[in-house]
Each structure stands twice: as structure tokens, then as C-alpha cells.
Symmetry: C2
Subunit: 254 residues, 2 copies
């Protein structure tokens, strides 16, 4: 089993879109896949038609109770793809649990218990570096960082990578990181320049493909479907299929 966390402190860069579409292709390729929503705002949970205000089976209960992880999982309309939904109650987590020791390993222990049930687990993170981010970094085998290909987002990436380094040191573990350029528009000079800067600054940490700007990715979210199940030949879908292939290759080696 491989656990992939998808995170960036910058908002609106394609974290949820990347989580849904990695999970969608993995399931379509016959892999047993679980998508986990750590964002109190619940974009991933809403994507699959659930309501974060009311859903009883949710990830918050991992932190507060005696429920087994397997009893908190919901199905989706996609075969081989399940979801561990979010809850709006997650907003209070930092306040209530942040200062208690040992709360950083709750997710790791919960997902380890699912080792026999899933081939891949993809974790969607909120745009904030709090206790949930610590949990995601402690639990994952690999961190995928979507970065919008424009200058402001690159400035933010430097800050994010700096903070990540500190969190990794406090967890005393190294985490493989893959930076994924998103929303790329090769017709704009700003986009082309931003991608060049990203590659020259972060080198081999950056995936050698790009996720292009593609309205089919928005259409798919409107239809509550991963793009693999709605517009498989679109440029957005083809790019995510290549990213999945890359991740399956690098995960297979380890």
C-alpha cells in the first residue's frame, strides 16, 4: 500500500482536483483506492455528493473516539474508490487537540490499519499548516505539491517548502516530495516563465509533465465524476493519466 498526501498552503492551486483525479485513474486501473478529506471545508467530500455538516462517518471521529477506521469509510459511485469524508468539526481540531502530545500520529495509525484493504490512499489537505498537515506528513509515503504556474504561487512555494522542512525535522522523517505544475497555459508568457523558474529552482523535485488549464476538469467536478470517467481524452485527463503512471512507477520501485 502507498499513501500519497496532496498539499500546498496556497489556496486554489488544484489540491482537490489532483486528489480526485489521481484516485479516479487508480481505481479505473483496477487499484483498490481510498480518498481521504482532511479539509474542514470539505471540497472532496462535496465532490462525491456528501454533506460535511451532516455526514456521520468522517475523519474527525478518528481523533475523538474509539471507532475503527474501517467503520468510518463511505463508498462512492466509482467502483474500487472509497472515501473517508471530512467534517466541518475539523475546524476546532487545532484548538482542542493542537497542544496535546502524540496527536500527530493519529492518521498514520488509522491508515496503517487499512494496509490489507487498499493499494493506494490519497489524502487531500487543507490550505493551512496545522495539526492535520502534521498528521498527513507523518502518515504519507510521498507528498505531492500542486503549484499553479504563475509567479505569486512560486513565491509561496519557497515559504511552504521552508516550513515543510521544519515539520519534517520535528517528525524526524524524510518525505519524498513531488512538485506538480498545475493550471498551465502555454499561450501566456507569464505561464511559460513561471514554469521555467519552477524547474530551474527545484530541478528533479518537479514532475517532468504539466497539468494544463482545462475546463473539462471543472465540468467533471460539476458532474461529481473524476475526469477519467467523463472526458478521458481531454488534455486534463491525459495529463493526470501520465502523472498516475509516473507515481505508480516511482512507488513500485520502493
Amino acid at each position: 500500500m502507498a499513501i500519497i498526501a496532496v498539499s500546498n498552503q496556497k489556496g486554489g492551486v488544484g489540491k482537490t482536483t489532483t486528489t480526485v483525479n489521481l484516485a479516479g485513474f487508480l481505481a479505473k486501473q483496477g487499484r483498490r483506492t481510498l480518498a481521504v478529506d482532511l479539509d474542514a471545508h470539505g471540497s472532496l467530500t462535496a465532490y462525491f455528493g456528501y454533506d460535511v455538516e451532516t455526514i456521520e462517518k468522517n475523519v474527525y471521529r478518528l481523533f475523538t473516539g474509539a471507532t475503527q477506521t474501517k467503520d468510518l469509510i463511505s463508498s462512492t459511485q466509482i467502483p474500487l474508490l472509497d472515501i473517508l469524508a471530512s467534517s466541518s468539526a475539523l475546524v476546532t481540531l487545532d484548538k482542542h487537540l493542537g497542544a496535546q502530545p502524540g496527536k500527530g500520529l493519529v492518521l498514520r495509525d488509522a491508515l496503517t490499519a487499512l494496509k490489507q484493504r487498499y493499494d493506494y490512499i490519497i489524502v487531500d489537505c487543507p490550505p493551512v499548516l496545522g495539526i492535520l498537515m502534521v498528521n498527513a506528513l507523518a502518515a504519507c509515503d510521498r507528498l505531492v505539491v500542486p503549484v499553479q504556474t504563475e509567479v505569486m504561487a512560486l513565491r509561496g512555494l519557497d515559504r511552504m517548502m521552508h516550513t515543510l522542512q521544519m515539520v519534517k525535522q520535528s517528525l524526524r522523517r524524510e518525505v519524498n516530495t513531488l512538485i506538480v505544475p498545475t493550471m498551465y497555459d502555454r499561450r501566456t508568457r507569464a505561464g511559460v516563465e513561471a514554469l521555467q523558474q519552477l524547474r530551474s529552482r527545484y530541478g528533479a523535485l518537479v514532475w517532468d509533465g504539466v497539468i494544463p488549464e482545462d475546463t473539462y476538469l471543472r465540468e467533471a467536478s460539476k458532474n461529481h465524476l473524476p475526469v477519467a470517467y467523463m472526458a478521458e481524452k481531454s488534455k486534463g485527463a491525459l495529463a493526470y493519466a501520465l502523472l498516475v503512471e509516473h507515481i505508480r512507477n516511482i512507488e513500485a520501485i520502493q
Copy 2:
């Protein structure tokens, strides 16, 4: 003096862009203006060329020390526009202070002390509903909620407004809310439909203008300038000028 908070739990919808450009036009129109950065990721602080890892004068110190607010303010290259910068230390605020009573009024008290110095204060919020959001709601006279004109973002708005209602009730105060449609592209059916849905669902809460998708707004951020000072005749600039006019009108009445 009027205090405007700019917030939405959804990431990447134009909160920082709206803060910068409201503040930019107000300053250009001769109003003494302060922009406040409550986001630990520090997009607003970086926009004006400061570094959130190192800047000593920052908003975190309001919560931890005896420094007077006026001594934490920095200038920008724009006349009549100052900034109260962020700090990466803000990520720990919820953990350290979230459970202590009375920490929700720190910002309100700090900004009230500036009543004689500024005509407008614009507060940029992070994409999360924690102790900083409570502070922003307690301090502001009006809440501006930028909403991307696309379906996923509308779903998120319903959840956000629901949570806001709960926070307002716990603060026992009503806060005027203005929803601002952003990144609008009238050439796409999805954009036009989303705007229609937004207006039919939220009626008079929605500003009757729109902020269009405009690459000059990204260019301006690359040049560390509000769009009023870089591309004043662009459609993005004209839209923000209209929004400022609307806000000055509704604030003047009260």
C-alpha cells in the same frame, strides 16, 4: 474609520487580490489606508515585498506581547497605504491560544487604537475558519466574501455562510456581508450559469457588479503594485474601482 474583512474558506478565490486592490484604490483616492495580513502564508506581505519568515513588525506580536499596534506597522511604496504584516508564526496561534478565553477580541482592540490614524482598514484572511477568522469577524464593520464564479465554489459558499452564521451568533453580533463575484469569464457557459445561480440564491447580498478574469491582475502582483498603479484602464482595475465606489457609498451612510 471603516474596517473591511475579506474572507472565504475556499482557497484561491481572489481574497488577497481583492484586499490589495481595494486598499490601492482607497489610497489613490486620498484615503489613509491600512492593509492587515492575517494569513500565515503571507501572500499580502509578500505582495508588498516583505518576508514573513523574518519581518519583525507583524500581527502575531499583537497576540503575544505588549507592543503597541502603531509600532507594528510598516510602510509600502504606495503613498497613504501602510501594512500590518503577517508572520509564519501565525500557524501556531490556534494551537497555543485557541482554547484561551478572550483571544477573539485582540484584533478588534488593536485596530480600534488606530481610529484617528486611518480612514479604512482592509483585513486579508487565510482560507480557514480558526481563531484569526473569529478575530476578523469581531473587528470588522463589513465582511467582503470573494466567490469564484464556478459551481464548486458556489457549493462551498453555502457551507461557509452556514459556518459564519454560527460564529456571528457566538460573537453576538451581526456583520454586514457583501458577496463579490470574482474571476468571471462571460465567454464560458459555466461562468454565466454560476453567476446566475449566485444571484438567485443570495440576492441583495451579492454586489451587482463582477470582477472579471483579467491577466493584468496577475501582472500587477508580479510587479508588487496594486492594479490602480499599473494598469488603471484594464477591465480588472475598472471593476475594482467600481467596487471601491460601492463600498465607500454604503460605508458613508452608516
